[in-house]
C-alpha cells in the first residue's frame, strides 16, 4: 500500500514512520507537513492510504479532505480532540490516538486492507476513468461538528444549492462546496442521473415512476421523496431505464 503521512510535527511523522516499519505491506512514499503540500502529493501520486493529523497550521485535516478530488483510504491521527473523536465515533471513521498503540495501529491497517479489497473488486465492473467516481468510492462530508465518509452507493440524491451541493444520505443532508455540473461529469449516468436542473438521483433508489405534466415524469424514491424529471431529461431517462 502506497502511503503518505501528513503531520505538521517532524517528530510525530518520525514516530509514526518508525512504527510503520514493521508493516511490510506499507510503503511510505511521502511525508507532508501541511495540507497544501499534502494536496499536491495526493493528487499527483494517488496513494492508497494516508495517515492524517487533524490539527495542522492553516488548513486542518478535515479541510484537506473536503477539498480533495481523489480521496484515498484515511486513518486519522490525533492527540486529543474531543469534538473530532465524537465525530469519529458517530460515523465509525478510523482514527488512532497519539502516542500510538501498536495494536491499535495494526487494527487500523487491517481495516484499511479490507476496505481496499472491496474497492479492487468493484474495479472489475467499473473501469476507472480519470476522475470518474464509481459506486464504491467514498466521499468525505462535513457539517459543523459531524463528519462522514460516505460510499457513493449510499447517497440517494444530490441537490444544487447555489455554489453548494446538498448530499442526501441516511437521515443526513450536509452541504459540500462543489457545483452540480462538475459532480455530474464525475458520476456515471448509469448510476446517477441528472433528472432536472436541481437534482441528481441515485437510480437504485427509485421506487416508481409516473407520467407528469408537460411530458415530464415524477419519480418516487424508496424513502418517499418525490421529484420531477424535466421534459428535456425525460426521454433520455426512459431510454436509460427501458434497457
Amino acid at each position: 500500500m502506497r502511503t503518505v503521512i501528513i503531520d505538521d510535527e517532524r517528530l510525530a511523522r518520525k514516530e509514526l514512520s518508525s512504527l510503520l516499519e514493521q508493516f511490510k505491506e506499507i510503503e511510505i512514499i511521502n511525508e507532508c507537513a501541511n495540507a497544501e503540500e499534502a494536496r499536491k502529493v495526493i493528487e499527483s501520486e494517488r496513494p492508497d492510504l494516508i495517515f492524517l493529523d487533524i490539527q495542522m497550521p492553516g488548513e486542518t485535516g478535515f479541510d484537506l479532505l473536503e477539498s480533495l478530488e481523489y480521496v484515498p483510504q484515511v486513518v486519522f491521527v490525533t492527540a486529543y480532540d474531543e469534538y473530532a473523536i465524537k465525530a469519529f465515533e458517530v460515523n465509525a471513521l478510523d482514527y488512532v490516538l497519539k502516542p500510538i498503540e501498536e495494536e491499535r495501529l495494526e487494527e487500523a491497517i487491517r481495516k484499511v486492507k479490507e476496505g481496499l479489497k472491496d474497492e479492487d473488486h468493484s474495479d472489475d465492473t467499473h473501469p476507472e476513468n480519470e476522475g470518474q467516481l464509481s459506486m464504491n468510492d467514498q466521499i468525505f462530508l462535513k457539517d459543523g461538528d459531524k463528519c462522514w465518509f460516505v460510499t457513493l452507493k449510499d447517497v440517494r440524491m444530490f441537490e444544487s444549492e447555489g455554489n453548494y451541493v446538498r448530499v442526501y444520505f441516511d437521515k443526513y443532508k450536509p452541504l459540500i462546496l462543489k457545483s452540480l455540473n462538475n459532480l455530474e461529469k464525475r458520476l456515471d449516468d448509469k448510476d446517477f442521473f441528472r433528472i432536472n436542473r436541481k437534482f441528481i438521483v441515485n437510480l437504485k433508489e427509485i421506487n416508481h415512476i409516473e407520467p407528469w405534466f408537460n411530458g415530464g415524469l415524477q419519480v418516487k424514491l424508496n424513502t418517499g421523496e418525490t421529484l420531477e424529471v424535466s421534459r428535456r431529461q425525460a426521454s433520455r431517462f426512459k431510454d436509460l431505464l427501458s434497457l
Partner: protein, 361 residues
C-alpha cells in the same frame, strides 16, 4: 430551653409587667392605688400572659408564620378581637366575683366594651404585631446569612472549576514527541520527561493553592515552553523578561501558563512557519503588576468564537481574576502590528475577597 424560647418568655414576663406597671402608674397619678387595684392588676398580668401564650399556640398551630402577609393581617385582627373579648369576659367575671366593692362590670355591656374589650383588643393587636415583626426580622436575618454563605461557597466552587487545567491535547502531543525522542535523542527525551513531571506537579498543586509566587509560575511556564519547543522545534522561539524584585509577588497558579498556552494554540500552531512568544512582567505602580504575553499571529475574536475551543482559557482567567480581586484586575487582549498582546493587571499584594483557606477539600 433554646435561646429563642428563653427570649420569648423573657419578653412575655417583662412586657406584661411593664404593661401593668403603666396602668398602676396611671392609677397612681389619679391617686387610686390600693390593694384592690394591685390584685386586679396581678389578675390582668396572669391573664395577659396566659391568653397571649394561647394566641401564640394558635398562630403556630395554623402555620400562620408561613402565610403571605395579606393572609396574615385579617387573621391577626380576628385573633386579637377574639382574645380581647375572652380577656374582657374573664377579667370582668373575676372582678365581679372577687372585688365586690368595685362596680359590677358584667351587667353593663357598654362599660364592659369600653373599659375592657377595646383596650385588650388593642393590646393583643400590638402584641401580635411585635411578635410577627420579631419573627420576620429573624427570618430575614437568617435568610441573609444563608444567602451570603451560599454565595461564598458558590464562588469557592466556581474558583475551583475555573482553576486552569492542562490541555489534554498538549499532554498527549508532548508524550508523543518524547516517545519519538527516545530513539533520536535519549538525553533530550529524559529531560522532556522531567519537564512533563514538573508541569503535572504544578497543575496538580494549583488545585490546592490559591496563590503561587511569580517565580514558581515562571518555572512552570518555562517547562511548558520547553516541551512545546520539542514539538514545534524551530517553529517556536520564546523569551522572558521578569525583574528579580518581582519574584515573590503572589498570583493565581497557572494564570500565565494558560495565556501562554493560548498564545501557542491560537498563535504559533496556526502559523506554518511558526513565531515568537515573549513574556514580560513589570511594576505598573506601587500596588499593581502588569504581565504581558506577546505572540506572533493575529487575534480574531470572530474566528475564535467559531473554533471548537471557544476561547475558554481567556474567559475562565477573566472570571478567576474577577472572583479573586474584584474590579482591581484586568485582562486585555489586542493586536499590535503582526503580534497579539495580552496584558494582565493584578494587585501586587493579593487580598482575597472572602475567607478561603489553603486546604485539600
Amino acid at each position: 430551653m433554646s435561646d429563642e424560647k428563653a427570649l420569648y418568655w423573657l419578653t412575655q414576663v417583662v412586657g406584661w409587667f411593664l404593661f401593668v406597671l403603666l396602668i398602676l402608674f396611671q392609677n397612681f397619678l389619679l391617686g387610686q392605688v390600693d390593694v384592690g387595684i394591685v390584685s386586679f392588676l396581678i389578675v390582668n398580668y396572669i391573664i395577659g400572659i396566659g391568653l397571649s401564650h394561647f394566641m401564640r399556640y394558635v398562630i403556630l398551630q395554623f402555620g400562620m408564620l408561613r402565610m403571605k402577609i395579606y393572609q396574615v393581617l385579617p387573621r391577626i385582627l380576628f385573633l386579637s378581637v377574639g382574645t380581647g373579648i375572652s380577656a374582657a369576659i374573664l377579667i370582668g367575671t373575676i372582678s365581679d366575683l372577687f372585688f365586690q366593692d368595685a362596680e359590677q362590670i358584667m351587667v353593663m355591656p357598654f362599660n364592659l366594651l369600653l373599659e375592657l374589650v377595646v383596650p385588650f383588643t388593642v393590646v393583643f393587636l400590638i402584641w401580635n404585631i411585635l411578635y410577627f415583626a420579631t419573627i420576620y426580622l429573624k427570618n430575614y436575618e437568617k435568610e441573609e446569612v444563608k444567602n451570603l454563605r451560599l454565595e461564598a461557597s458558590m464562588n469557592e466552587v466556581e474558583l475551583g472549576n475555573l482553576r486552569s487545567q492542562l490541555n489534554p491535547h498538549f499532554i498527549f502531543n508532548a508524550l508523543n514527541s518524547i516517545r519519538a525522542l527516545v530513539d533520536e535523542n535519549p538525553n533530550q527525551a529524559k529531560s522532556g520527561i522531567t519537564k512533563m513531571s514538573s508541569i503535572l506537579r504544578s497543575s496538580l498543586a494549583s488545585g490546592r493553592k490559591q496563590f503561587v509566587t511569580l517565580d514558581e509560575e515562571m518555572k512552570t511556564v518555562q517547562a511548558y515552553l520547553d516541551l512545546e519547543k520539542i514539538r514545534f522545534e524551530e517553529r517556536l522561539n520564546y523569551s522572558f523578561d521578569v525583574p528579580d524584585d518581582l519574584n515573590n509577588v503572589q498570583l493565581p497558579p497557572m494564570l500565565i501558563q494558560t495565556l501562554v498556552e493560548n498564545a501557542i494554540k491560537h498563535g504559533i500552531s496556526d502559523l506554518p512557519s511558526g513565531g515568537d512568544v515573549i513574556i514580560d512582567a513589570r511594576r505598573l505602580s506601587n500596588s499593581m503588576l502588569e504581565i504581558r504575553v506577546m505572540n506572533s499571529g493575529k487575534y480574531d475574536p470572530i474566528r475564535r468564537k467559531k473554533s471548537t475551543s471557544n476561547g475558554i482559557g481567556l474567559t475562565n482567567s477573566r472570571r478567576r481574576l474577577q472572583l479573586l480581586y474584584g474590579t482591581k484586575s484586568n485582562i486585555a487582549i489586542y493586536n499590535e502590528a503582526d503580534r497579539v498582546i495580552c496584558d494582565i493587571t493584578i494587585p501586587l499584594t493579593p487580598k482575597s475577597r472572602f475567607a478561603y483557606e489553603d486546604s485539600d477539600h
